[in-house]
Amino acid sequence: MNVALMNRLLRSPADVARDCKEDRDVAAVAASAILAIALGAILFGAAVGSWRGSAQIGYAALKLPLVTLGTLVLCVPAFYSIAAVFGRPWPLRAAISIMLAAGARFSLVLLAATPVVWLTINLGASYDAVKLVAALAYALGGLAALTLLLRGLGDGPGKVATVVTFMLVFLVFGGQMAWILRPYLGTPGRQDITLFTREREGGLAWQLLQSVQYVLNPDEASRARQETRP
């Protein structure tokens, strides 16, 4: 992994975005970005999986890079088409490299959040609290990636429309990708560890809302989980 490039990604995203747009050294950007995405997601996944421990650490470490890279694969055509219809008809190479660079920035933030998540778990935080901390880390990572995308889009008409539309698409696709590969933390009240859950559990938005309610009212959480325990 090119450490100098990672440093540039964090300190001067506008320069990296400009290089991507001008097709300058994009192969090196892409290779380092993929490596950074995988590394950040693996370590963050392992930290998240440590709430349950045992095989869940490996499962979550395996699945989170898939979620991040899978979401990028789904979002590249969307980003390419959204940028084009709002007045930025870039080559596909530029769109792909900008997305990968944004993904790398996102993963570097996850990497920074990994010790925080691990410490939260180590201090005995509840399932819902850990879920919210992980979601917060994801939101911060998303914000960092968005900064690079904004710089990449540059000034000009259609910038806000491009960003708003793409964010909407990214949240829906990324959320669903994460949802189908769950669980990452493990299922509360159940001791068995599974690679995937196939139970009907509503949806991602509903689950996050429920976690907020349970963090605010822990009695309700334990009551609900007592009722659903097999």
Partner: protein, 170 residues
């Protein structure tokens, strides 16, 4: 040239239709591949000719080719947007548990595509309409929004009828 562009728009929208059809699979894929471009085609072939008559009645300085060009450019933009969403839409319709999410996501994508097309169409025609005499401009100030509303309702109705997988509750 413009005919080819419209065909390209239809083909791009059909890719999104294929993704929606994966919800049920089989014949549904082919039906949805026809259904998604049907809204685009309906606006281009039914609503725009009606608008051309209104423009002629108002003596607007827009000829048929200008209108056709604006229509096909708008259609291509909508089609390109929908095609870009197709891979993610395929994942969503295949994996999502409840049908209401499919309905919201599917119609949401079509709605945004409609907004993109409307924006492109009105921007392309704006220079011509701005150069029109004052009386004509006054008529067009009403006619343009009315056309866009009519086109949106027409496309929504066609999609509602042609994409049953988006309205079925399971």
């Amino acid at each position: 040239m413009e005919g080819q562009r419209l065909l390209l728009a239809i083909a791009l929208a059909a890719v999104f239709g294929v993704a929606l059809g994966l919800r049920k699979g089989g014949v549904s894929i082919a039906l949805a591949a026809l259904g998604a471009p049907a809204g685009v085609a309906a606006v281009a072939l039914v609503a725009v000719p009606a608008f051309a008559i209104v423009l002629s009645l108002a003596n607007a300085p827009v000829d048929f080719m200008d209108l056709t060009r604006a229509t096909t450019r708008a259609a291509v933009r909508a089609g390109l947007f929908l095609a870009g969403l197709a891979p993610g839409a395929a994942l969503l319709v295949v994996t999502v548990e409840d049908s209401i999410t499919v309905t919201i996501a599917g119609f949401g994508a079509l709605l945004i595509a409609g907004v993109i097309a409307s924006r492109s169409f009105s921007r392309d025609l704006h220079p011509y309409l701005a150069a029109a005499p004052r009386g004509t401009r006054a008529v067009l100030t009403l006619a343009m929004p009315a056309f866009l509303v009519f086109a949106a309702v027409l496309a929504a109705r066609v999609w509602w009828l042609a994409l049953p997988m988006l309205v079925e509750v399971s």
